[in-house]
């Protein structure tokens, strides 16, 4: 039985529990609902939750643990001789999984039955050819040991699935029966149901926090790994970035951070003034009709995939800047440059700044505007001296949000600024950023053991620390001004 159907059955049971619980609650007080501690719906809710939640929890844990345990068992049974020269156990295990999948596929299209499979052995049948028939291409002949492992892998999986079905359904039924039998007039069903829901809500927020923690931990772990192989001093203080996949690389992060900050700065210089002016126009001057047309039109910019912006940078903006600015002034001759990427990224960020700031400016109470007009201030004086200061914390938040977008942006930089790690003040030169280098260090045929790949994690962590710092700063500024202004 597959997981979907099992879930539906559990939900069905829970719904049944709901109905039964309401009936039973009424029955124990002979139909006089006022004698119950809680309204009948709460008894139903309680039984529903007790039926569904533990069953789903067990199911989730089972689905998580089963593959791990099975792989361990199967791996133990693979003899060392089955592992080819130069390969390792994980490669063999992935073959095992694929063969098991292939057998399933053959079962499904009817070309193989359980009984036949039992008698099938790798040394008698051309398994590789038959697997290829169902779309599973293997690199080498299947060794008997691996084939047997695949067979037992499949078998364990089936047993596991069956056991899970039994356990989950048993648990659901058991909990339902138990909960139903506990229903009485004095059962504090509402309080129980509500605290149950409360813990579900807390659990949900823990998922988010745990995920963040998990990401940070894995980054930290791999970064630590990296610093075992490569001196931290060189990473932080070396001014060259020159990875060599044969070893002996220079992995100083300074040129990348420089590129990131430079491109982001250019982007913000473009986006912040334009975005703010748009916001002021939309919020203070534009009529209803203009606003209802212009706002969505500007927000379309936010919906364009960054790769499209990248194309724009590569094909239009880059050559334009090269032909009209860089070459005439003699400051550069490549079409990829910090200015190109920064300009295009700035355009991408405009709607972030304008849309958020517009909402924030709109939220400034009309009473403040009236107060200012009532003193004989003009509209522009009112905007400059009353509205913008009042909206400042929110606007700063919007700008910092845009900044963290800029720092994390990859596609536009690859296509607009190039891939050369350089530290230069000239905005017409090609440079590159942290994100671009993370991608280029991780793509390609490399194992996760050399400093050249592991450096990606250190870079990722650096980026994370940067954006975290920005967010903390944003929070601090917003708090500080809020104290003053509210």
């Amino acid at each position: 039985m597959n997981v979907g159907i099992l879930s539906l059955i559990v939900l069905g049971l829970a719904a049944l529990g709901y109905v039964l619980a309401r009936r039973r609650a009424l029955a124990v007080v002979q139909g006089d609902a006022r004698l119950l501690h809680s309204r009948t719906g709460y008894y139903g809710q309680l039984v529903f939750l007790l039926t569904a939640v533990p069953a789903f929890l067990v199911m989730a844990i089972w689905l998580f643990l089963q593959p791990i345990l099975i792989e361990q068992r199967v791996a133990e049974n693979i003899p060392g001789t089955a592992i080819p020269e130069g390969g390792d156990l994980t490669l063999v295990m992935s073959d095992v999984r694929r063969i098991a999948g292939g057998i399933d596929a053959m079962m499904a299209d009817g070309s193989l039955g359980e009984a036949q499979l039992k008698d099938m052995h790798a040394d008698q049948t051309d398994i590789r050819a038959r697997l290829a028939g169902v779309g599973i291409a293997l690199g080498a002949e299947v060794s008997p040991a691996v084939f047997e492992a695949a067979k037992s892998y499949r078998k364990m999986q089936k047993t596991g699935a069956l056991a899970m079905t039994v356990v989950v359904l048993g648990l659901a039924l058991g909990m339902m029966g138990l909960a139903l039998s506990r229903i009485s007039a004095t059962l504090r069903a509402r309080n129980l149901a509500e605290s149950f829901v409360l813990s579900l809500l807390i659990g949900a927020s823990l998922v988010a926090i745990a995920t963040t923690a998990g990401i940070v931990l894995s980054l930290l772990f791999e970064t630590w790994h990296f610093f075992q192989l490569y001196p931290a001093r060189d990473f932080f203080f070396s001014l060259t970035w020159n990875p060599q996949f044969r070893g002996g690389s220079d992995l100083g992060f300074a040129p990348l951070i420089w590129g990131t900050l430079y491109v982001s700065l250019v982007a913000l210089i473009v986006a912040v003034p334009i975005g703010l002016m748009i916001a002021i126009y939309l919020a203070e001057y534009a009529g209803k009709r203009v606003r209802s047309l212009a706002k969505p039109a500007i927000e379309v910019l936010a919906g364009i995939p960054t790769i499209v912006y990248g194309l724009f940078a590569l094909i239009t903006v880059g050559p334009f800047i090269r032909d009209w600015i860089a070459q005439p002034t003699g400051l550069g001759d490549s079409s990829s440059s910090v200015l190109t990427a920064g300009l295009v990224m700035g355009i991408m960020l405009i709607p972030f700044v304008s849309s958020l700031s517009d909402d924030i400016i709109n939220a400034v109470p009309q009473a403040l505007r009236d107060g200012s007009y009532g003193l004989g201030a003009t509209q522009s004086e009112t905007i400059k001296q009353v509205i913008l200061p009042a909206a400042l914390p929110g606007v700063v938040g919007a700008i910092l949000l845009a900044a963290s977008r800029a720092i994390g942006e990859t596609m536009i930089v690859v296509m607009g600024a190039g891939a050369a790690a350089k530290m230069s003040l000239n905005p017409l030169e090609a440079m590159t950023t942290v994100t671009v280098k993370i991608v280029s260090q991780l793509t390609g045929d490399t194992e996760f053991a050399s400093p050249e790949t592991l450096v990606a994690f250190a870079l990722g962590l650096t980026l994370f620390v940067f954006t975290l710092g920005l967010n903390v700063l944003a929070l601090y500024i917003v708090r500080k001004y809020r104290e003053q202004y509210e």
Binding site: A367, S372, G374, L375, G376, Q385
Partner: protein, 265 residues
């Protein structure tokens, strides 16, 4: 129409500061003010009274064109200040509002320091030539707003950190600081305690020496205490307008009498 001769009369009669003739105000299709004729005397306190929703605030806002900021609001008729039509296209509402200041029903201090709140108007209109002069204006205005003693040690703290009543006095002081010729006050005391109310009333009495003050109030006692003239509004109409003493002791219209004695509103 009869408004032209009346306007001429307004020009010749020097002690009339503002006058409205045939004034109609619409919010979209709803008429909030119908055919109001009123003369506001110079150096006098005029009280607008009437039940809630009768259009007191709406009419008050016509007097300094604050209604311009409400897109659906439309004003018809003539309103003059010193004989000049304030709705004339030549008139800049910004200049007008510097002369006809306003204090609102709900306190609305700016998100700035107490000092900057008061200095806002004088700075915009260039009333102070030096920092010391500005300091003077701020102190004088805060004293007139009966707030000086409470805030003199915290002038650079945010105005929004004051209590509701203090905020309202701050707003009054802020309006006074720009030295308007007419001060419009929309229920300025609805958030104040009796002591602060008494102080504000004293301030109004003092302002009367130099300006005219128009005050909207729900308190009959207040209207009787501070004003010389009273206008009673009902359902968008100006029902009765006259000397305060006469309105309160000897109203001509039965609706005025019922309102004053507490039978409507």
């Amino acid at each position: 129409m009869f408004d032209t001769p009346k306007r001429e009369a307004a020009v010749t009669k020097t002690d009339i500061k503002m006058s409205a003739r045939n004034c109609q105000v619409f919010y979209g299709d709803n008429q909030a003010i119908k055919d109001v004729d009123v003369d506001i005397d110079d150096k006098t306190v005029t009280a607008f009274i009437g039940p809630s929703g009768c259009g007191k605030s709406t009419f008050l806002r016509c007097l300094n064109r604050m209604n311009d900021t409400i897109p659906i609001c439309r004003v018809e008729g003539t309103i003059t200040l010193d004989g000049e039509d304030i709705y004339d296209p030549k008139v800049d509402p910004v200049q007008l509002r510097a002369k006809v200041g306003m204090v609102f029903q709900k306190p609305n201090p700016f998100p700035k320091s107490i000092y900057d709140n008061i200095a806002y108007g004088p700075r915009i209109h260039g009333l102070a030539r030096s920092r010391a002069e500005l300091d003077d204006i701020v102190e004088k205005s805060l004293r007139r707003g009966a707030l000086w003693d409470e805030v003199k040690d915290r002038l650079h703290e945010p105005g929004t950190g004051l209590s509701g009543g203090q905020q309202q006095r701050l707003c009054i002081a802020r309006a006074v600081a720009t030295e308007p010729e007419v001060l419009l006050m929309d229920e300025p005391c609805s958030a104040l305690d009796p002591i602060a109310t008494a102080q504000v009333e004293e301030l109004i009495d003092e302002l009367k020496q130099n300006f005219s003050v128009v005050i909207v109030t729900h308190s009959m006692q207040q209207a009787a205490r501070v004003s010389q003239k009273t206008a009673f509004f009902h359902l968008g109409n100006l029902v009765e307008y006259g000397e305060t003493g006469q309105i309160f002791t000897n109203p001509r219209d039965p609706r005025t009498e019922s309102y004053i004695t507490g039978r409507i509103g």
